[in-house]
Symmetry: C2
Subunit: 701 residues, 2 copies
């Protein structure tokens, strides 16, 4: 992530007192609040009122850094959703609505819990001051304010002038400083700024003013450091544009044909408030300013058993760690924690209908609070659509019978729930794809713009020392970096208490002797399974690239299939399994030390949501997934959480310039002895009247 002086709040509609979530075209208002529904605009306003009216923190200004739902306790939510627990009596009682707030005032980070059950009389329930290391996310307004400091700072103005640059053309990015030892809890809340020339192109990331760094105290909002270390030519604007009509004439050659997905019977899914129902799936889609999209209470209907069965309690992207690999002064500290330093939901923008999502998509809005605590609505921040990609759910052609060829094919339709985070220069398309087979595919697609460094090089032949990047254009190095997208997935496989099991593929020598497990055949080897149940968190850490291959399962040890197999889901990585190769003692690695292993399993703890800690800006790693996991708690037969980190080492190539074609990775959660048999065996076969084609619309179909 490279954040910049983002004025986007100005572009978003600020709403006050409007309580509705709409889906595109068909507004759906629901007065019934689900306990996991995100705060409404009215509730955010109520939070603001309560906090500002409270005498607990008299210091002003008070700035809101986080306002979000204070999640009810899990047993209460389960009771609401599934009607059990707590004797069942209060299962559908109205849960209290509470907000969690982080605000800065008087140089301190304050935490509030606010009751907004009755939005007209909100009350602060608790207040605390954060005394540990790290700071909350940087607000957009702070970024505007910091950016406004640069041109007014005479040494900076001089530097720009000496480079022949017009201050009007200069745009600065606010970059977290990371942590590189020292103060910790006593640190000043600062950020750095690096600047760009934006006059002639929308792609200012391609035109860095290399060598100039500003340091800003975010609480005092003042420049406290400046360095003009070195000057390189600013790369040319030519060839950097990406906007239609400005990037050159449209491609002249043949192009794919335009197409559209038509659903003659309408959509197959229904959205009721925040609850989505589609085929055998039901889940809640929430929005949180830090995580963005949050999927909760995902359950699948087991048609054979006649039961709705739980799969996941709550899942979201907990962190995106993006360390760059240039040790130079202007680059060494770029070790971004996009969720913890910037808020993923704050950088999720309205999706473009028919382009970001298929034309048949429905959209959901999101609400957050600005720095003053007022609600901000982001229209169409998430979308839901059915996908007809030409995939096959299952098929078989049987040629073994005389005089008949049996072919049974069931085309696949899946449901995609999508959010896009434009974290400064980079864009992350984050998909949850639900399948009728019971699988959930998680896909991350990277696109957007690289972070670039100005250089004197204009040809690779000139490079004699390590340039830490690829020369993607004249005077332009795209710097090597990594992406680690960490998911928090509180799996509840057919119930709350689960175990993590490794089915380890183990080679055996055929002894030739049935008495010792062998067979009297010339086969010399085979593999079988060694089953390991993870007892504690140490057993729950897996580098999927090392050690023997294994199926990784999350099972419910209290539930077995008819055949006696433990009910479970398994995790299948599908590309993008890179782990961090930074030194263990390096500072960014200490802050995100979970990034060396793709899999961590922890016992559920309501407070353990953010892999790099609640206060991630300038964090030291003392509040992080790896730190919590050092306690090595028991995870067998417990309410456990899977943390999966999808990773990529990104060596840029010229194709990534000036705008990167999508690169994807993902993983699958797949039912594995969860159902008694293939749950979609009895899916209807397609016929001309059901999906085969649509006569009114067909042209060449």
């Amino acid at each position: 992530m490279m954040s910049q002086m983002a004025h986007h709040a100005m572009l978003l509609i600020v709403v006050v007192g409007v309580l509705s979530i709409t889906t595109s075209g068909t507004p759906v208002a629901s007065a019934r609040r689900h306990p996991l529904d995100p705060l409404s605009a009215a509730e955010i306003t109520a939070v603001r009122t309560a906090v500002l009216a409270s005498r607990l923190v008299p210091a002003r200004p008070l700035r809101f850094h986080y306002v979000g739902l204070d999640e009810p306790d899990k047993p209460d939510v389960l009771a609401y959703a599934y009607g059990y627990g707590a004797g069942g009596s209060s299962s559908r009682a109205l849960a209290p609505r509470r907000a969690f707030v982080i605000a800065r005032a008087g140089g301190q980070s304050h935490e509030f819990r606010v009751d907004v059950t009755n939005a007209s009389s909100p009350s602060v329930l608790s207040h605390a001051v954060h005394r540990g290391t790290g700071f909350p996310t940087i607000t957009l307004e702070e970024q505007f304010a910091a950016q406004a400091l640069a041109p007014a700072y005479p040494p900076f103005a001089d530097s720009m002038r000496s480079r022949g640059l017009r201050l009007d053309d200069v745009i600065c990015s606010v970059l977290p400083v990371g942590w590189f030892g020292g103060a910790g809890a006593g640190a000043r809340r600062v950020a750095k700024m690096q600047c760009f020339v934006a006059g002639a192109t929308a792609n200012y990331y391609a035109r860095p003013i290399e060598g100039v760094t500003l340091v800003v105290d975010l609480d005092r909002m003042a420049v406290v450091g400046f360095r003009d270390r070195v000057a390189y030519p600013v790369p040319k604007a030519e060839g950097t544009e990406y906007r239609a009509g400005k990037a050159g004439p449209p491609l002249a050659g043949p192009a794919p044909a335009p197409g559209v997905v038509v659903q003659p019977e309408g959509r197959g899914f229904h959205i009721d408030g925040h609850v989505v129902r589609w085929a055998n799936w039901e889940f809640h889609v929430g929005f949180d300013v830090r995580a963005g999209m949050v999927i909760s209470l995902a359950s699948v209907h087991d048609e054979d058993a006649g039961l709705r069965r739980r799969v996941l309690y709550r899942g979201f992207v907990s962190e995106i760690f993006v360390p760059y690999m240039d040790p130079a002064e202007e680059w060494y500290y770029r070790t971004f924690l996009d969720a913890g330093e910037f808020d993923l939901g704050l950088w999720a923008y309205p999706l473009q209908p028919g382009a970001d999502c298929l034309a048949n998509a429905a959209y959901l809005d999101g609400y957050s609070a600005d720095q003053d605590g007022n609600p901000v609505k982001v229209r169409n921040v998430m979308c839901v659509f059915e996908r007809y990609a030409g995939d096959v759910a299952w098929r078989h052609t049987e040629s073994g019978f005389p005089s008949q060829l049996i072919t049974e094919v069931r085309p696949d339709v899946s449901l995609v729930v999508r959010m896009v985070v434009s974290a400064g220069n980079y864009d992350y398309i984050l998909d949850w794809e639900f399948k009728t087979s019971g699988s959930i595919n998680f896909v991350v697609s990277l696109t957007g713009i690289l972070e670039m460094k100005a250089t004197s090089y204009t040809h690779a032949d000139e490079i004699t020392a390590d340039a830490h990047g690829t020369l993607v254009s004249e005077n332009t190095l795209a710097i090597y970096h990594d992406h680690y997208v960490t998911y928090h997935l509180d799996l509840d496989i057919d119930g709350t208490n689960n175990s993590f099991v490794k089915n380890i593929i183990t080679t055996r020598r055929n002894t030739g002797n049935p008495a010792t497990g062998g067979a009297d055949t010339p086969r010399r080897s085979y593999w079988t399974l060694r089953r390991e149940v993870a007892e504690t968190e140490a057993d729950g850490q897996v580098d999927v690239n090392a050690g023997p291959p294994a199926d990784l399962l999350f099972v419910n040890p209290g539930k077995k299939t008819r055949m006696g197999n433990e009910v479970g889901y398994r995790l299948i990585p599908a590309g993008a399994t890179a782990g961090s190769v930074l030194a263990d003692d390096d500072y960014p690695q200490r802050r995100a030390s979970y990034s060396k292993k793709q899999v961590w399993v922890t016992p559920y703890n309501k407070s353990e949501k953010w892999a790099s800690g609640l206060y991630a800006d300038q964090s030291t790693g003392d509040d992080s997934l790896a730190a919590w996991s050092k306690r090595n708690r028991g995870i067998r037969g417990e309410d456990i959480v899977l943390w999966y980190t999808l990773g990529l080492h990104h060596i840029p190539y010229q194709e990534d310039f000036p705008m990167m074609p999508t690169l994807s990775g993902g993983f699958e959660l797949r039912p594995s002895n969860f159902f008694e048999r293939n749950p979609i065996l009895r899916t209807r076969s397609p016929s001309p009247s059901r999906g085969g084609h649509s006569p009114n619309c067909s042209r060449n179909v």
Copy 2:
């Protein structure tokens, strides 16, 4: 693969003298033969005539095991396709049309080369007798004949009677015996048969008659061995059906909505004979009875350079190795080489329109020869369609400018070319997905039916010893196994001579001293690239799961970008990277020893097409990818071939019964410094009139 007495040839139209390739709905006849066009029906007939008329092999019967195109030499094809080489004078001259034939007669394997340039006067150009190890693929007719032997063999009939089974209900599969030491070149050509009860279900694989084995001499077509070793209960038929209407009532609950892709302006691709042109891509789609679909001469138009540029000369699935992991007498030898023992193209059936492929697909037919040498047409054996999956080609939202939010999104449309191989019980959906970005995604989707073993167990609690599989139903073990799908990909990146380069991610300690490549910053580590160019075949072997992470590139050392970077493509595994864990000295591993590494790179050699050898049945591994590669030839700056093996360890789960939901893996070939910049930067932005939606058809879109 489990092959059975397949009568499917009876179901396919036998055509004589018809020379045309059709695309569904719009027949396209082309008299101009491309040098890589597969043999036409007329040419196959001519081959038969010439071989049977030849006096070189007087022995009868003579059975055709392989009839296919004898590929012209690569320089001649390149000259035809791109008009260069050979002085250019004869570049479009009519190349001779030749066939390659493998036939069995007199207990020997004969090879013929036949000229069919003039199909009315074909001539045998050469004849040879194969004297090495191994045998050609087993024909369908041999399988029918072998199957017919079983009920007529009294000891077998007695065994069935003693089990209370009706011979009418029994169906047998013909299974290659593998190789487990011994004879080699002097071996008898035999196969084994295992049988099933098929009366009450189409899914006879679920009802094995465990413990009974027949051995058949395929040349003499006689039973030469029989064993009734042990008896287990035949698993019940109930719950094994998968046919619509027979698998139970259709699912009653909510289902995905039917949908169809509409292309208001028609398809975006054109098929001229076997040449497909779509967007910036052009390639030739052929069909070979052993490989099935063959993609040749894939080239991409570089709009910025105004040039058509080569990517791949020829690519196909060379082998599918499927070893089972049960050392028992009836299972140890099941170590299938589906292409080499059975022919992938022979087990590719007509695709079901609107189910196997999207409704907007076009279809291509395939031709092969039956055992008597007569042409057999398989209608709609391959399909081509544009895919509108809701993916994004590139996007960016820029919030850094005051009072404007820039959002540019280019939806992705790709072109899928598909074949499905129903290799007995298993179905492999084999996709090549071409993208306008220049990428090719290769996807293998596994579905179909597991191989099952009868057992006395009815509940997992009864299992005390290693069962070598999962209890998926009462009395039914689904046996552990692997799938290794090996691609032969003759890459010609922007020209014939390429190098294989590993960009190895290498951690460096920051020395803190610019004089030693460090920087005076507190950052302690970073990674950079160590570039290794593979000199010989030994360097070309990569286990992608071991060693340091690396980008794997195929570059043209003679071509550089404007910036001086070597022009290349890179290989990106996307899941399914399992390697074999069998012992090196185990027989199946010796036959397919390439299966321990995903990547092999060899110098192009026209004869090296089949990873497990031309004569794979009962092969010993002496003619195989690993054997050829032992010569350790130079591969730097040569015409090189990438062999990529996609692998899965398959632990079955109950969901895979009685029919497996699709499980996919794949890899991507992605341009990497091939283009000067993002080649689809100038793609048109979607508008309501181009793909956004289609007003005549919209209902809820």
